[in-house]
Amino acid sequence: MKKKLYALSGVFLIVLVIAGLWAAKAVSLTSAQQTIDSSPQTTSTAAELSLEQMTKEASVIVTGTCLQTKSQWVGRSLFTMATVLVEDSIKGDPAARTEVTVALPGGIGSKGKFQLAQTIAGAPQMYPTNKVFLFLSDKSPVAGSYSVKGFAQGNFSISKADDGDEVVTRNMTMAPLQKGVGVTRGNRQVLSLSEFKARVKSYLNK
């Protein structure tokens, strides 16, 4: 976000001139001139990706439900292999239309008699029964699996809003969420699943 802002500074003077004409007329502040895409927050020190970037760069985009997670040593590193039952394949390999395996860095496992964990700050996480909206890369350190695009950035959860609609959040949730419009508690960011999908599809069609 901040990086893009800098890139936009070149049009700043032009915008000032346009802004001077606003006083007596209805204002149409277009995103191209005046705003910066507020991309989902990233994790760790990953390069920040906008939703449009993630959509375009992802090999596979699916919604689904995490069926199971299993830790696996790959060489000297632990991965949590998440099996996701695909419900909607929005982009990518037809083979990914029923089930995908996603390699999540870090995990818990044993080496002989020793019980160990590998911890990586900000790495993506999934839990069984977790409904997810995933932007995946076919570049993965584990053969036969996908990785989450942009570290954890491509990992969204799908939950129910308190009015029954499905919504997308950055974090996993088991409680009904308030949509945040109208009278609400707090200011948590949620987005309707239908709008999120529509936005992704609009980027695909660009």
């Binding site: 911890t119 890369s137 088991m174 508690r185």
Partner: protein, 658 residues
């Protein structure tokens, strides 16, 4: 983040007094793993109750010895010819270690003692490796994977823990040593607690970024990053520190703490600042590795050291959710200096547990917060001083709970991160409070233990939000003094508690800046009245209900402006509505009136916007038509048809109503 407004203004319909409290938020704490010692039973057969604990080095591992990978020299530069030799990188990396090593109250000590010629990737091998080799799929700037024990363990002479055929444990040593000279480190035989780090590596993504050293080479190229800034952050993880929320130290310093998870590679000031530890970074490193906590070994006081327990006190308490009546997991508690409002340190609430499947290694959640959240206790280590203690939800702004910890995610999973920021106000702490910005001073006088019992209950206040999620931030082309306003119709206010009273507690603005080192400051924040006529509005800026000049926002977060007299304000507004004198409230924010705007981009302070941005585009909320702007000081206002400005009105029922 935070900062505090203290100016009090008289005005408006009822001459109400307002006290603005722009609260910042941040948090500190531990990188988590699980503890399955004794395989505690769980409600699910076959699964184990796994308590979440922090990871850290055992004192026998200190100094922690690192080897730098020497197979890439010079360091690859994806932007062109190499600009960094391995020797330069090694010097910069040791300087980053030394930033932590020099903390007088922390006995952490991390040293580069050798090299490794590993042609592959890092992993669990008892070589603490620093490398510029990463897998092509590696998406981050850098990462710091740590391998740790998840149960109390007795390591015995000859144990081969990593399975490479070489013993990793020796009874002949008392500190970690490369006994056999083969390049990996052996641990002394003996007992080790769950959470003990056995191996840590740090990998820097030279496939994607140009790493530089030296102040002169820090630039605005977003594909280039200061190695020292990146390494100092990662080395915080290396000794067990988690990410934190604080991205704004004070009302005059927009830089964040080193352990904030994002680096603005386009802002040289922000990059350089990340090399220097903040008070929060120092406090948590010291809390985990307290100098003077032993009579011998690395924790014993040596020349130049200061005893942690004489320099620091602990603010302790419990955080509970006032509506759900539950202890909160992962709420962010923070301490600011009571007089200057400068952020000092923070911590997360909650002791938590997950379900663990010993067969698959999988972690599980069940829909039972009572099982997962054992308590809402928190601790904040702070130096001697007088503090205000506040709490903020880890609600995605500025950082999602998934970037923080399992514990924060657990709280999020059970819908707990849905409260407004507020301060501890002692006897008035309750599920409903009148003044969310009211602060009671907390004195910390180490070594006296006088700052316990700082218990906070989150308020049941609600927000009137005429907007959906944030789609954009803007406006980059705002002119000096430009005003943004959001209409809140009287009918909407009246519908909050029909027939009952109302507390108007504050307003909140979704604010942001273009450059991470800049404070999102605004000429003023205002709550006032006005009328709407078609696509124009008349907004009364000369008789505001509440006003804060020099309002300080929070970068990528909702910044509250809390009022001192919510009862009076609520009563006045309700009467004004009943008598037809108030048709709307307006929440107003003004861009600074002078230029140049600060920061390398030279852009004005920004606001959060909801809307597709393009005609007919999809959006989660209707375009209400409640957003207006003025570029002539408020003489004329124009409706903004394509966005909802993300400004909230914070209200509550009175204390004596259910």
């Amino acid at each position: 983040m935070k900062s505090i407004e203290k100016k009090i203004f008289n005005f408006g319909l009822c001459l109400c007094l307002s006290l603005a409290n722009v609260i910042a938020v941040q948090a500190g704490g531990a990188l988590e793993t699980i503890d399955i010692t004794g395989l505690p039973p769980s409600p699910i057969p076959g699964l184990v109750a796994a308590k979440l604990i922090g990871i850290k080095w055992d004192t026998r591992s200190i100094p922690v010895k690192y080897s730098i990978n020497n197979t890439l020299d010079p360091i690859p530069n994806p932007l062109g010819a190499p600009v960094l030799t391995l020797a330069q990188a090694r010097t910069a990396l040791q300087m980053s270690f030394d930033s932590w090593n020099k903390i007088p109250t922390s006995f952490i000590d991390m040293e580069i003692t050798g090299t490794t010629a590993n042609p592959g990737l890092v992993g669990f091998d008892f070589v603490n490796e620093l490398t510029f080799r990463t897998d092509p799929s590696f998406p981050a700037i850098a990462s710091s994977p740590s391998t740790s024990l998840i149960e109390d363990t007795v390591l015995q002479d000859g144990d081969d823990i990593d399975g490479d055929g070489d013993s990793d444990v020796s009874s002949a040593i008392t500190v970690c040593t490369d006994v056999d000279g083969d390049g990996d480190i052996e641990f002394p035989a003996g007992f080790y607690k769950a959470g003990t780090i056995l191996d840590n590596d740090v990998q820097f993504n030279a496939n994607a970024l140009r790493f530089t050293v030296g102040d002169a080479n820090v630039d605005t190229n977003t594909g280039s990053v200061d190695l020292g800034a990146t390494a100092t952050h990662e080395f915080g993880h290396s000794h067990g520190l988690s990410h934190v929320l604080d991205n704004q130290i004070s009302r005059t310093d927009g830089t964040g703490v080193t352990m904030f998870p994002f680096i603005d590679t386009g802002d040289p000031v922000a990059e350089l600042n990340a090399r220097s530890l903040s008070s929060d970074d120092i406090a948590w490193s010291s809390y985990f590795y307290p100098e003077g906590s032993a009579k011998s070994g690395p924790a014993a006081l040596q020349r130049g050291d200061k005893a942690f327990n004489k320099e620091y006190g602990l603010i302790k308490g419990e955080l509970r959710h006032g509506v759900l009546n539950q202890p909160i997991a992962g709420g962010s508690l923070f301490a600011v200096d009571f007089l200057s409002d400068k952020f000092v340190a923070s911590g997360f609430s909650g002791t938590t547990q997950l379900l663990y499947d010993p067969v698959s290694g999988g972690l599980f959640l069940i829909n039972d917060p009572a099982f997962h959240i054992l308590n809402g206790k928190y601790v904040i280590p702070v130096p001697k001083g007088l503090y205000a203690v506040g709490v903020e939800a880890v609600d995605g702004n500025p950082v999602p709970s998934s970037s923080i910890s399992f514990t924060a995610q657990i709280g999020d999973a059970f819908g707990q991160q849905d409260f407004n920021e507020e301060f501890y106000n002692r006897s008035r702490e309750d599920a409903r409070e009148v003044r969310l910005g009211e602060k009671f001073p907390v004195a910390v006088l180490p070594p006296l233990n006088i700052s316990s019992g700082i218990n906070i209950v989150t308020s049941d206040s609600v927000n009137i939000n005429n907007f959906g999620d944030r789609n954009f931030i803007g406006f980059t082309g705002a002119v000096p003094g430009q005003l943004y306003a959001v209409q809140v119709p009287a009918s909407q206010i009246a519908s909050v508690n029909p027939g009952g009273g109302l507390l108007i507690q504050g307003v909140a603005f979704d604010t942001a800046v273009a450059n991470a080192s800049v404070v999102p400051i605004y000429a003023k924040a205002v709550l006032t009245t006005g009328t709407v006529n078609g696509t124009t509005a008349t907004i009364d800026l000369t008789h505001p209900l509440a006003q804060q000049n020099g309002f300080v926002g929070q970068d990528s977060d909702l910044a509250p402006f809390y009022f001192l007299t919510p009862r009076l304000l609520g009563t006045a507004v309700q009467k004004g509505i009943e008598k037809g004198k108030i048709q709307n409230l307006f929440i107003v924010l003004q861009v600074p009136t002078t230029t140049p705007f600060p920061g390398v981009s030279g852009l004005p302070s920004l606001i959060g916007l909801d809307g597709a941005g393009t005609p007919g585009g999809s959006n989660d909320a209707p375009l209400f038509g409640f957003s207006f702007t003025s570029i002539d000081g408020g003489a004329t206002w124009s409706q903004v048809p394509n966005f909802n400005f993300r400004f909230s009105l914070v209200v509550s029922k009175p204390l004596d109503e259910p």
